[in-house]
């Protein structure tokens, strides 16, 4: 079974949401982000799960913790998140798209028009 056919664990789904916010600029570098608790409440998930997400994002360097103050987007946060999301897109989503493109017999020209017009 290839890994793209599994559902992501919740803590990584939350990480995706946070990454998108960093990427879109909704959360800017050096900006404080919601606390673990606030995030848990907003999403209606277990705060322990959110704590795991923050730990994961901290390890990747996308966010950092100022003790006693809260979590902030790293100066390099956007770059880190962009790299990660690209890698994941290539590894997980492209194969699915490729399969579908082959199945439907879509030509490169059609694809180019659809994607880059």
């Amino acid at each position: 079974m290839d890994y793209s056919s599994t559902h992501k664990p919740i803590y990584l789904q939350i990480a995706d949401k946070m990454s998108e916010r960093i990427l879109s600029g909704e959360w800017k570098p050096e900006e404080r982000i919601p606390s673990v608790r606030e995030m848990g409440v907003a999403m209606g998930v277990n705060p322990n799960t959110v704590a795991r997400t923050y730990e994961y994002m901290e390890q990747s360097g996308a966010i950092y913790n100022r003790r006693g103050i809260g979590f902030f987007v790293s100066p390099e946060g956007r770059k880190i998140v962009l790299k990660q999301m690209k890698e994941e897109f290539f590894a997980n989503e492209i194969p699915v798209i490729r399969k579908k493109v082959e199945m439907l017999g879509i030509t490169p020209e059609e694809m180019t028009v659809l994607l880059f017009r």
Partner: protein, 270 residues
Amino acid sequence: MIRTSGLSFNYGRESVLENINLNISEGRIYGLLGANGAGKSTLLKLITGLLKPKTGTVEIDNIPSFDRNPEIQKEFFYIPEDFTGPDIPVERYASALGAFYPNFNKEQFHSLCREMDVRCDKKFTKLSLGQHKKAIIAIAISLNTRYLFLDEPTNGLDIPSKSEFRKIISGNISDDRSVIISTHQVRDIENLLDDIIIIDNRSVLLSSSMEEIQRKYLFGVESSLDGGVLYSEEGLGGYMTIRENTEGLESKVNIETLFNYYNTIRKRGY
């Protein structure tokens, strides 16, 4: 810490629970899952001391629940599935109950009522089913007991209220507080849970942390089946599968599929 050991119960000749061994620790959210009539409510009544075990023991902080020790009584609160409030305003009932629970927080109660849109100046008997349920949830949370037992809390809640419920549970858990939620509607609460306990056919089919399950199994949706699946069932978008997680990958636990998997194991008899 709550501990049941060798716990059994029957109504007359009908056995309801057999040899239940469970540990419930603090600071976690438990999902007590099982089909209707599996014995979930009976288990909650045994734990909270409303029923007396036929054999075995249930202890909260090392004191048998059925002793109904006042020191222990104030450490937990239980909302039965069929809770019906008395014919008095919600806020008066809250204060009356609050007198028995040293950590009752009146401001918290009022702010929860506001969050959930509950008119706490109204009598229970004047509230709709959903309002009724939300009112007692607001009271239960603001009593700030160490253990909170909720029997089918999302029954009767409309869709926005279910999401509100999740937010409120998430925002009110702490390291010294455990919430035990019984439900047959897993989807309503699955993202809240630290642990799941599945009761089926009178006994504990599975009691495990979500993390442990995630380490052990890999859950997927596959378009075609090749070998090596532990369990599969056809669903929308392909086969829901469970495989052994040999490579240390991470996937989202599909509780419904897991439940069905454990059920087939049991039926096969090993």
